[in-house]
């Protein structure tokens, strides 16, 4: 796993002319990872039954936006010899589970790296948690609050979901500021602020702030200093990990010691998956077996993806 450094996982793609300016400004301020976000509402997807908005409706998800950068755009990172990582993210605003019909059909929706969700009611969230797997749970300050309780929070945490709070609406508007502070207080009461990430949803390059400043916002958002610093760095790396695990599907990996039957002294060579699989069947091999459970086995439960086993390699 690459070290991602400071990360800002929400830069909206909508004012399309300023996307590159915002990314360059974020890299200048000290971030190393950036994710470009496209937001799609459930009502704008095309349904055959509703003929009212036929012209405006989308038939398929849009392609992920890409940004080309040269070395002059990130001079501070280039001096250290590092390269920025740019991810793509899709956020869905949902009311009920009908969006799954479109999501499972389309191929462009699976090209995005991260997946976020904005539920409009607690029922929608509960239904989505049963059958759908996503990475980030976000909040739009223009929509209404819904009721959180400890059970819902813990259910979401178990499915490897992180909770997102945006700070750019706090800077521009006073009403939004109150709503986001209230939500952060709620998260503290309900779940001790576990698994929270902080990101901007900045529509202008002026609204971005440096990572130390964002970590200092923990005082207002009723978090510890520890959690404030984690929210910008460590938890974002966890989100990336969970997203990779979701894309890979269900795998089972077994690690064993390789014993080569040769006359010379047995030296255990460094084991790689490819080297074991390619060997002839005459040699006695107890090597690494990789079993892809997503295609064949129906006996395997589809709940866990053993990402932790993989990471211990």
């Amino acid at each position: 796993m690459k070290d991602l450094g400071y990360a800002d996982l929400n830069i909206p793609s909508k004012p399309e002319s300023t996307v590159k300016a915002r990314v360059v400004r974020a890299l200048e301020l000290g971030y190393q990872t950036v994710a470009i976000n496209t937001v799609i509402h459930q009502e704008s997807l095309f349904l055959k039954k509703k003929t009212s908005d036929k012209d405006n409706a989308l038939s398929d998800f849009p392609e992920p936006t890409t940004v080309t950068l040269s070395e002059t755009d990130y001079p501070e990172l280039a001096n250290k010899g590092l390269k920025p990582t740019i991810l793509t993210r899709l956020t869905l605003v949902i009311k009920d589970n009908d969006f799954l019909i479109h999501y499972n059909k389309s191929n462009t929706a699976k090209k995005y790296d991260l997946l976020g969700l904005i539920p409009r009611s607690s029922n929608a969230l509960q239904n989505a948690l049963k059958s759908f797997r996503f990475d980030i749970l976000s909040y739009d300050p223009e929509l209404e609050h819904f009721h959180w309780n400890r059970k819902l929070y813990r259910e979401a945490l178990e499915k490897h979901v992180s909770f997102e709070l945006n700070y750019a609406p706090m800077i521009t508007d006073r009403e939004h500021r109150r709503k986001i502070i209230a939500l952060a207080y709620n998260y503290n009461f309900v779940g001790k602020c576990k698994g929270i990430i902080l990101s901007s949803s900045a529509k202008r390059p002026i609204d971005l702030r440096s990572p130390t400043d964002v970590a200092n916002l923990c005082c207002i958002l009723s978090m510890n200093e520890c959690r404030g610093r984690e929210a910008v760095m460590k938890q974002c790396a966890n989100v990336h990990k969970a997203a990779l695990g979701r894309k890979m599907g269900v795998f089972r990996v077994r690690v064993d010691r390789v014993v080569q039957e040769t006359t010379t002294a047995a030296v255990s060579a460094p084991v790689t998956v490819a080297s074991v699989v390619d060997k002839e069947p005459e040699e006695r091999r107890e090597g690494i077996e990789v079993i892809d459970c997503s295609s064949s086995d129906s006996s395997v439960s589809a709940e866990d993806s053993d990402v932790e086993n993989m990471e211990e390699d």
Partner: protein, 161 residues
């Protein structure tokens, strides 16, 4: 007597009009220490209320201000007062008549360390700016004639003279 501890925050103020442009911003700030102090106090009152304002402004002071490089060193008492002040700095968007953005560069425990950090940073940036004065062939040419120097400065900073 127990020692009173403080924290010093080194903050850079950037103009919002010159953020997206690649040119150097050379115009000095037209603000005094009082203006900056007031702007931060007002935001503290909005965000943390009477308690926040009372607790932080007790030991708060502007210790160093350089209008040409737009750098400020703010002091506050260690612990809750400093946390409150640091959390309101991202929200300060205007000082006087200019719209401005604050970025914290460094947090120090003594004034001496904050000034040591500043010295290292200014030396690093000075080297970077000197590289902009290369001649067209790519050689580093620091001894230029007067009209050449004027032209190069106008190119880099886009001042209107």
């Amino acid at each position: 007597m127990v020692r009173r501890k403080h924290r010093y925050a080194v903050v850079q103020l950037e103009r919002t009009s010159s953020i997206a442009l690649p040119y150097l911003d050379v115009k000095p700030l037209k603000a005094s220490e009082d203006d900056i102090f007031k702007a931060v106090k007002i935001k503290l009152g909005e965000l943390h209320g009477d308690y926040g304002r009372a607790v932080t402004t007790l030991g708060m002071r502007v210790k160093y201000l350089n209008e040409a490089t737009r750098i400020v060193v703010l002091r506050a008492r260690q612990g809750e007062p400093f946390k409150m002040m640091a959390s309101t700095l991202p929200f300060v968007t205007s000082i006087g008549a200019e719209s401005i953005q604050c970025t914290t560069l460094y947090i120090a425990g003594t004034i001496r360390h904050s000034l040591i950090f500043l010295e290292k940073r200014q030396k690093r940036i000075f080297k970077q700016v000197l590289e902009m004065f290369k001649s067209d062939k790519g050689q580093k040419k620091y001894k230029m004639s007067e009209p050449e120097l004027k032209e190069r400065i106008l190119q880099i900073t886009k001042l209107e003279m």
